[in-house]
């Protein structure tokens, strides 16, 4: 016993040392933070449209038209705030842009662009890739940007980060500008995409869509494009 008591302080110290080292050991499993890279929220995963929380383009258009009608009414009553274009009740300036692009056409275009009901987002330490059915993926770096990601005679695309929101600006001929602004909830339960369309500096038509995560079934095949053999697929990892 005397032997045990004599060694007690040593054993206590050893136990304490082991206890203290436990969190350190646990931390070894954590990914190492690279402080040279900006910290970004995790957008990755499969997302499906939450129709209940997403704007309906007709409702949004109706809301915009009501605002304009109210503006027109105020103007007629001499209560104009002094800003914004002159609006008459008979013609509530549907042709909002200088080139005569009507807000209705912008709204319908917003609906056309936002027609996808699912999104698949892949995000690693350097890039984010947003895949939408029937569209080329939107790809951006996780660096602050802005970066030019595409340009052709038919339009150009630029991406960048506005704090934790990912922004893509697409400029089409005749100054038709489309902006997609992606934001994700910190708990990863909701993804919001705000699509704004304006023409020649007109007031934008905004459409917000909301997405929730879902578990996409695993692909049966892993496919890779090769030049000499075309698309080559191999059996994917079997489901557990």
């Amino acid at each position: 016993m005397a032997y045990s008591f004599r060694n007690l302080p040593f054993l206590v110290s050893l136990a304490a040392l082991l206890c203290l080292s436990m969190p350190v050991l646990a931390q070894d499993d954590l990914p190492v933070l690279d402080l040279n890279r900006p910290l970004r929220l995790d957008f990755s995963g499969s997302w499906e449209k939450d129709f209940g929380r997403s704007d309906k383009w007709e409702d949004e258009l109706g809301r915009m038209l009501r605002i304009r009608q109210e503006q027109a009414a105020r103007q007629q009553a001499g209560l104009s705030s002094g800003s914004g274009p002159a609006v008459s009740l008979g013609n509530i300036n549907l042709n909002s842009g200088r080139d005569g692009v009507s807000i209705i056409d912008l709204a319908r275009l917003a609906e056309y662009i936002s027609r996808q009901t699912t999104l698949n987002i892949i995000q690693d330490e350097e890039h984010i890739r947003i895949e939408r059915r029937g569209e080329a993926p939107l790809i951006c770096s996780l660096e602050a940007g802005p970066l030019e990601t595409f340009s052709s005679p038919h339009g150009s695309e630029i991406c960048g980060w506005d704090q934790q929101q990912l922004v893509f600006v697409i400029t089409l001929p005749d100054e038709l500008v489309i902006r997609h602004r992606f934001s994700v909830a910190a708990d990863h339960e909701q993804l919001r995409v705000l699509t704004s369309i304006s023409s020649r500096g007109s007031a934008p038509f905004n459409l917000t869509q909301s997405f929730t995560p879902y578990d996409e079934p695993a692909e049966s095949f892993d496919c890779v494009l090769t030049l000499s053999r075309g698309r080559v697929c191999s059996k994917g990892t079997p489901l557990p």
């Binding site: 080139d99 569209e135 340009s151 630029i158 030049l227």
Partner: protein
């Protein structure tokens, strides 16, 4: 600070978006005239001894970036160019051999003192529709044979269908015909023309000087005095060794061993070429289609400006769809570039891992080999003092 960023970034994005579609065009690069249809001048008989010059074709340099460097993700095209640097010299090497006008023609990773004529090149433009190469050829005496920019363009008939290419094997020469064969034939013909301007004595001098340059590379303390250089970079033989000079016999022995090494290196490039020929031709076929599509898109965009001034929903969706499809098309093309690089990667890796006992890339192995030969030469000639630091590489 955050507020400032919040306000500034979207504004900056909009400004940049506006700039990207109407920014200043890059300064135009002078385009050399195309080579047109060229017939390779082939020799039916065996060339006389002094005409049988050994040629080294260096791995090409990258004369200009394959991408404009502005767009995110375009580095994939720079990687394609990096692979082309190793592939295109071998096509020139094949054309020179096919002409039957020269001695050994080898692709080399580094400048080599053992060859009579060294060809270096830089790829200025390379895609499915056009190839522009800057070519410089210089013999061992420092005489410049060629310093010229060559350009060739292709038509759809220069390419087989991708379907045919996928079915073919390397042995099917008809299918694998080089789309820019005229350009390589023109280079070969120009080299032949340059050789024809030289007298027999001048050609013999080239061969004598190259032997002395090689000897000087092995043991400058023994052979440097035999060479004379002038301010213009021309080298002449100040004196020649006796026919039975034992030192020179050893040099020639070392050169034979060196030839074996560079023949092996050349075989590695041949293996790379064989592995990559089919995917590279497919890649160029796609690149041709892509360039054509871009031109059509440009024409359509100009036509759109002229004829479409309406702004209804249909016009807006058409405008968006044109953008959408041009982006989808480009993404697919980028995907193809990536898959070409993926297919090239194992072959390039193999190229750099071939020589047993030597480390690093083929270029580094080549430097090591030359150092080993110098060491060996010193040992064989009985000079066992360590090599001076200046000759280590």
């Amino acid at each position: 600070m955050n507020l400032l960023r919040t306000l500034c970034l979207p504004a900056l994005l909009v400004v940049l978006a506006a700039c990207s579609s109407s920014g200043p065009a890059p300064a135009p690069v002078a385009t050399p005239p195309g080579v047109g249809d060229v017939r390779l001048q082939q020799s039916t008989g065996t060339p006389v001894a002094e005409q049988v010059l050994d040629i080294g074709v260096l791995v090409f340099a990258n004369g200009a970036s394959a991408s404009d460097g502005n767009r995110f993700g375009d580095w994939v095209y720079d990687e394609v160019r990096e692979n082309e640097r190793h592939l295109l010299p071998f096509t020139l090497r094949n054309t020179l051999l096919e002409s039957n006008q020269w001695g050994a023609v080898r692709v080399l990773p580094q400048s080599d003192p053992s060859v009579d004529l060294l060809i270096s090149g830089a790829i200025l433009t390379s895609d499915g529709t056009g190839l522009v190469l800057q070519v410089h050829a210089e013999d061992s005496t420092g005489r410049v044979w060629l310093d010229h920019t060559y350009r060739d363009s292709t038509a759809e008939t220069d390419f087989p269908q991708v379907r045919e290419l996928r079915r073919s094997t390397a042995a099917e020469a008809r299918v694998m015909e080089e789309p820019f064969a005229d350009l390589y034939a023109q280079i070969a013909n120009d080299l032949l023309n340059a050789r024809q301007q030289l007298s027999t004595a001048q050609l013999q001098e080239i061969q004598q000087v190259s032997l002395l340059v090689y000897a000087n590379d092995l043991a400058p303390e023994s052979f440097a005095y035999m060479l004379e250089g002038d301010d213009a970079g021309r080298i002449t033989a100040a004196s020649l060794p006796a026919a039975n000079d034992p030192m020179m016999a050893r040099v020639m022995d070392m050169r034979r061993r060196h030839y074996l090494f560079i023949d092996t290196v050349d075989e590695y490039y041949e293996a790379l070429h064989e592995q990559m020929q089919s995917p590279y031709l497919i890649w160029r076929r796609y690149s041709f289609d892509q360039e054509l599509e871009e031109q059509r898109a440009l024409d359509r965009a100009q036509g759109q400006g002229k004829y479409s001034s309406t702004s209804g929903y249909l016009t807006l969706t058409q405008r968006y769809d044109r953008y959408r499809w041009s982006k989808i098309y480009e993404q697919e093309f980028r995907e193809l570039a990536s898959s070409f690089n993926r297919e090239a990667a194992p072959a390039i890796l193999e190229l750099n891992q071939q020589v047993r006992g030597l480390n690093g890339t083929l270029e580094e192995q080549y430097i090591q080999w030359r150092r080993i030969l110098r060491e060996l030469f010193r040992l064989e000639t009985g000079d066992i003092a360590p090599l001076p630091a200046s000759q280590q590489d």
